[in-house]
C-alpha cells in the first residue's frame, strides 16, 4: 500500500527539532563520560559522531514499528523519546532505570518506544529483527522492523542467514548498518579499529540477495532521511527488505575501547564560527561532527543563533538533571535479582528457590 512518508530532504521547520534531538544525545553522552570519571559506571559505548544517522532515521518510525539496537544504543533510544533519567539510572544500575537496573548500558530496552531489546552480541539481533518483520507479515500488520547494527555485525554469520530469509520472504525489514569505520575498509586488515571484511563496499553484501542497497553519508541527515524514507515505503508496500550503509567518520574519543572525551564538549558556536574550534580535533568537528553540521544547517534554514544556544542550554540542563536523578536513585532491591526469570511467579520461585517480593 502507498505510504504518506515523503522522500527527499527534511522540511526546514523540522531542522531545529532535529538539532535539538541530536544535541540532547550529545549532551547525554558527554555527561555520561564525565560521570564515569567519578563513579564506577563500568564499560559503555557512546553514539557521538553518529547522531545524524539515528535521529532522522528513527524519526520516520511510527507507533508499532520496532527497532533492534546494539551495545551502542543510547542515541537510538533517546531519538525515540526514551526518558534520559531512566536511561542514565539504568546505566548506573539503579532501581529507577529503564530495566530496573538488571540490563545496564548494553541492554537498555523500552518496548513502549519500539525497542524490544538491545543486544550486546554483535550480529545477534539481526535475525531477531527479521523475526519481528516475519510476525508483522503473518499477523497482517502494516509495521516495519529495523535492524540497527555496526559494520562489525556483517562479519557474523547471523547477518548472512538473516538476510537470506528476509529476502526469500520479502519481509518488511530495514537493515541499517552504521559503518563508523570509514576509511578502515580500505585500510589494511588488522588496522585498528576497523572492520575486517574482504568486501570493499559493505552494501555489496546485500546485493546477492537482491536486497536494494544504498550507500550514504551517515553524517548527512538529509541523505539518511531520504534513504530511510525509501526503505520504509518499500517495506510498508510489501516490497521487502532494504539495506542502508550509513558511513560516519569515527569520533576521536571512540578510537580506543573505552570512550574518552578527548575532543572536549562540542560547542554550538563551532557551527557559525569555525575559527573557534580548538586543535587538535578541528578537522573532526569542522568536517565530520553531525552536531556541528546540524547547527550549520539549522542556521541556513533560518534558525537564529540565540534559538540554537537556548536549545543547547536546555539539553545541557536536562542531562545534568538526569545525572542528578540517576545518582539520587536507589539501588534495586536484592529480591529484584530473582524476579522476571519466568512469567509465572510460582515457576520463578521454583527455579530460583526464591520468592520475589512484589
Amino acid at each position: 500500500m502507498p505510504s504518506t512518508v515523503p522522500s527527499g530532504a527534511l522540511p526546514a521547520p523540522q531542522r531545529l527539532p532535529q538539532l535539538r534531538t541530536m544535541l540532547r544525545i550529545r549532551r547525554f553522552e558527554e555527561a555520561l563520560i564525565d560521570l564515569a570519571q567519578a563513579h564506577d559506571v563500568g564499560h559503555f559505548h557512546v553514539y557521538i559522531g553518529q547522531e545524524a544517522t539515528g535521529v532522522p532515521a528513527l524519526a520516520l518510525l511510527e507507533d508499532g514499528d520496532v527497532a533492534y539496537s546494539t551495545h551502542r544504543n543510547h542515541g537510538h533510544l533517546l531519538a525515540r523519546g526514551v526518558d534520559p533519567n531512566a536511561m542514565l539510572a539504568e546505566i548506573l544500575g539503579r532501581a529507577t532505570g529503564t530495566n530496573g537496573g538488571k540490563g545496564g548500558t548494553l541492554h537498555l530496552a523500552s518496548p513502549a518506544h519500539g525497542f524490544p531489546t538491545t543486544s550486546a552480541s554483535v550480529g545477534g539481533p539481526l535475525p531477531i529483527a527479521v523475526g519481528s518483520a516475519f510476525a508483522f507479515r503473518e499477523l497482517g500488520r502494516d509495521r516495519v522492523s529495523v535492524a540497527l547494527f555496526g559494520d562489525g555485525a556483517l562479519e557474523e554469520g547471523a547477518w548472512h542467514e538473516a538476510a537470506n530469509i528476509a529476502a526469500l520472504r520479502q519481509l518488511p525489514v530495514v537493515f541499517l548498518c552504521e559503518n563508523n569505520s570509514v576509511g578502515a575498509v580500505t585500510q589494511q586488515a588488522g588496522d585498528y579499529p576497523s572492520s575486517t571484511l574482504a568486501v570493499g563496499t559493505l552494501a555489496d553484501l546485500a546485493r546477492p540477495f537482491g536486497i536494494p542497497a544504498a550507500v550514504i553519508d551517515g553524517s548527512d541527515s538529509d541523505a539518511v532521511h531520504a534513504a530511510m524514507s525509501d526503505a520504509l515505503v518499500r517495506a510498508r508496500s510489501g516490497d521487502g527488505p532494504s539495506f542502508i550503509e550509513a558511513r560516519t567518520v569515527r569520533w576521536p574519543g571512540n578510537q580506543g575501547i573505552w570512550a574518552e572525551l578527548v575532543t572536549g564538549r562540542v560547542q554550538v558556536h563551532y557551527g557559525w564560527d569555525a575559527a573557534t574550534i580548538p586543535d587538535p580535533h578541528r578537522a573532526w568537528f569542522a568536517e565530520h561532527d553531525p552536531v556541528v553540521r546540524a547547527v550549520r544547517e539549522a542556521l541556513a534554514a533560518g534558525a537564529g543563533r540565540d534559538a540554537i544556544a537556548a536549545i543547547d542550554a536546555d539539553a545541557t540542563r536536562e542531562m545534568a538533571a538526569a545525572v542528578a536523578f540517576a545518582l539520587a536513585s536507589p539501588w534495586p532491591d536484592a529480591d529484584e535479582a530473582f524476579a522476571n526469570l519466568y512469567a509465572d511467579p510460582r515457576v520463578n520461585a521454583l527455579a530460583t528457590g526464591r520468592r520475589a517480593a512484589k
Binding site: 564506577d40 559506571v41 563500568g42 564499560h43 544500575g93 539503579r94 532505570g97 530495566n99 537496573g101 538488571k102 540490563g103 545496564g104 548500558t105 548494553l106 541492554h107 543486544s119 550486546a120 552480541s121 554483535v122 550480529g123 562489525g152 555485525a153 562479519e155 557474523e156 554469520g157 547471523a158 586488515a189 588488522g190 585498528y192 579499529p193 572492520s195 575486517t196 571484511l197 575501547i257 539501588w331 534495586p332 536484592a334 529484584e336 535479582a337 530473582f338 526469570l341 527455579a351 530460583t352 528457590g353 526464591r354
Partner: protein, 339 residues
Amino acid sequence: MTATEIRMVDAIREAMRAELAADPSVVLLGEDVSVGGPFGATKGLQDEFGAARIRDTPISEAAVMGLAVGAAAAGLRPIVEIMFMDFATLALDQLVNHAAKLRYMSGGQLSIPLTVRMQAGASGAFGAHHSQSLEAWLAHVPGLKVVAASTPADAYGLLRAAIRDPDPVVVIEHRALYWGRGPVETGEAAIVPLASAVVRRPGIDATIVSWSRMTVTALAAADLLAAEGIQAEVIDLRGLQPMDTATVLASVRRTGRAVVAHEAVGFGGLGAEVAARIGEDAFDALRAPVERVAAPFTPVPAAPDLERAFVPDAAAIAAAVRRTLARPDPRRRSLEEGR
C-alpha cells in the same frame, strides 16, 4: 629461575610468548589481539612475533573456531581468543561437534592441538552478555579439556600445558583475577599438568573444593573460619575436565566434610558433579551432606549491587562449612542409637 610478582594478565601473555618462541607452529587468532584485546592479554605479541602469527580476525566466532580446527588438523597449533566466554555460544558447533570429536570419530587418525582462551566471569557491571561462567557446558563434552586458574603462576603453567597438549583445551580466565599479582616462575619447570588439583591451604575440619575466582574467595572464607578455630582445607581443582578427583577424595576422607563453591549457577553446575563423586566414592567418610555454594539461578544482573550479590562471597562459603560442622556426626548418632 626465581619467581617475580606479576599480574595474571601478564602471566597469560608470558605463557603465550614462551610457547610462540618455542614452537613456530603456534599461532594466535582473535578479535583485536594485535592491540592486546580489551584487557591487554595479548599486547605486544604482534610486535614480537609478526602479523602472520598474531592475527586479528573478523568478528566471526564460528568461522574462526572452525578455522582453528582445520588449521590444527593440518599442522598448526592455534590459540584462539574468545573475547568473552558468552560469545563461545556462536562457536559451539565447531568446538563441540568438531574439535572435541575429530580424534575419536577418525579412530585416532586425527589430532586437534587447539587452545581456546575464554575470558569469563562476573565483575565490573558488564551485564548478562559479558559475565557468564559456562564451564559446565564445556566440561560436559567428551573430547574437550577444560582448565581454570586461580593464581598467576597457574595461569602461566596451565596455559603452557594447554598449548602443548595434543587435544583441544579450553582455558577459562576470570577477568576479576587479571590484575591480581602473584609470584610466577617461568620456564619448563613451571608448566602445570592439566588435570592436577592442588591443596591451597591444608586443614582438618572440612574440605572446600573450588576453582578460578572462587578459590580466592574460598581462601578468604578459610581465614574467616580460622578465626573461629575451624581449619578448612581449600582445594583448587584447576582441571575441570579431566578432573583430579583423587585429590578431592583423599581430602574428604581426612576431613569428612565437603563444600563445593563455584561462580556458575548451581543447577547442573560442576558442583553437582563433584558432590556426586564424593557421594559415590567417599560416602563412608562423610559426616555431613556435601554442601554447594553457587550463583543464583538467574542471568547475571548488571546493577553493581545485584552483581555483587550474584557472586558467592566468603561469608556464604564459611556459612556452608559451618553447616557441615553443625550436623550431628551420623556415625556417633548411630552408635548412640544402637546403645
